[in-house]
Symmetry: C2
Subunit: 307 residues, 2 copies
């Protein structure tokens, strides 16, 4: 499949995710400003890569997407969106732009952004509990999502990221910390903040498709590898792309003194590492035949993206 | 039962809740500052009224508390605690004191408080998904909690509360808005922000005890009534009690120009309304015999509390 072919695949999945998000939000009785702010953030033009991964992993196992995977993809996207809303707050990353629009706290106000993030996070679990067909499946999905997004996952990564920023603002990151120590710290941040949510997407898709243990483990391994690769590619883009391409402020991580892969191991080595992770992700798919080709394509495409 | 007897009942339940909270937190792999901040906020000396209500409602139905009700009580308390952490943030209610200690963002920093709240909220759902014995029960509990705490519940109340504060800061609340309109707004805030979480506590306890429809509806009605009564009593205390008694800044609501019951309908009428709600709560318990006496006592005790 060509890169253009892959982009179309992704766009089709994004449309499906957007339709589900719209339906889920419209069917809930939420009042005034809160609903407007939730809709504003959910309707911002995200790539929906994580949500698409849920759907693709379900397809790999079951041959098609199903109702449960559509709900799971939407729930994961809702949690990802909440994390962006809170990440952008002045006390956090303090970013005014997100997905090519004003960040939620700029469009509305800080209190609304805090509550909108809280509302999205809570809604994600409500949706899983209420809309998934089988209670045993719902419980598995909620466990995966809560673990990946929670204090031993994404939030641990956000916390470490903020601390790394503090260190970065005090002194040049590279010169005063042992390379191996800072590489470990960087991997800790990226694994927790990003890769575990990709792993979770794969796990949720696998569960919705009714995967056996081998399939489940293979897809989780794949998800973790492309998640880490995705974040390294993101670091690279932060240096090389424009704000317009990114839909958020470019060069911001470097300016904030954040520990990024290009800053710590250099641009060339970062590209090599991302390539290596894509290869390892593809290797993890060995139990699957051609039905996993879209996932193989995704591993490569993530490295070649420009936004 | 005397008031002192009731206080002892509440303390015993609070101990059980605290033990469960400690166990749940200790058994999870959470790193560094985040775990410290989560422990700090969870270990602050809260009354645990909502959590105790889960346990009492389970007892009323099943004759005793059980594993599921202990987990549900802890999960509800975790969600209540997250809401306090976010409520106290500078962009929200901006309060430095909570449960007799520095608020989370004063003890640590704003970013840590935002992430700690997020971590607690996520943990509550993880705990329910992972520790409740039956998937069907887990799904019911998660649905109840997410609905009560989410954008059509507590967060709607927080949002309306902030907007009421804006109005209050611009002009005296009572003189410029029609009494009936502001009374409706006030009820909307209190029902959503407080009463639905009390209703949820009762619902979760009922589910854990295996309640039938009549028992379930009766306990939910009871929970909603005492929840609203509790919040009115809270408004009254904000005017009449000291900061030391409250463990948070006293007189703050009035100063912030918040719409409170004493400000809108006067102190005497507020006390009458709280009493009326306690009576209605007790009436809702008609399907139950002496096994619901603790709940009857709670309805009265909430009105007589001094903190």
């Amino acid at each position: 499949m060509s890169n253009t072919g892959f982009d179309i695949q992704l766009q089709l999945k994004a449309q499906l995710v957007n339709n589900t998000l719209r339906r889920l939000l419209a069917s809930r009785q939420i009042d005034g400003d809160l609903k407007e702010a939730m809709r504003y953030t959910l309707e911002a033009p995200g790539k929906r890569v994580r949500a698409a991964l849920v759907l693709w992993c379900c397809e790999v196992v079951e041959g098609r997407t199903n109702h449960n995977s559509e709900i799971a993809a939407a729930a994961l996207e809702i949690v990802h969106t909440y994390s962006l809303v809170h990440d952008d707050l002045p006390a956090m990353d303090d970013d005014d732009m997100r997905r090519g629009r004003s960040a939620c706290h700029k469009q509305f106000d800080e209190a609304t952004a805090i509550l909108t993030g809280d509302a999205l996070l809570t809604l994600a679990f409500e949706v899983l509990a209420e809309e998934i067909d089988e209670p045993t499946v719902a419980v598995k999905l909620i466990t995966e999502l809560a673990k990946a997004a929670g204090p031993a996952g994404m939030i641990a990564g956000q916390m470490a990221d903020l601390k790394a920023e503090e260190i970065g603002n005090r002194k040049p990151v590279v010169s005063e910390v042992e390379p191996s120590e800072i590489e470990n710290q960087l991997e800790y941040i990226h694994i927790n903040k990003t890769a575990k949510m990709f792993r979770c997407a794969a796990a949720m898709g696998a569960v919705c498709g009714g995967a056996g243990d081998t399939q489940f483990n293979s897809l989780c391994e794949y998800g973790l590898k492309i998640g880490l690769g995705f974040q390294i590619a993101d670091d690279i883009l932060d240096v090389s792309a424009s704000s317009e391409q990114l839909g958020k402020t470019a060069g911001k991580d470097a300016k904030a003194g954040k520990a990024t892969y290009p800053a710590v191991i250099g641009m060339e080595k970062s590209k090599q590492l991302a390539k290596k992770l894509a290869d390892e992700a593809i290797t993890a798919l060995q139990p699957f035949g051609p039905e996993a080709d879209t996932l193989r394509q995704l591993a490569t495409a993530l490295l070649q993206r420009t936004r």
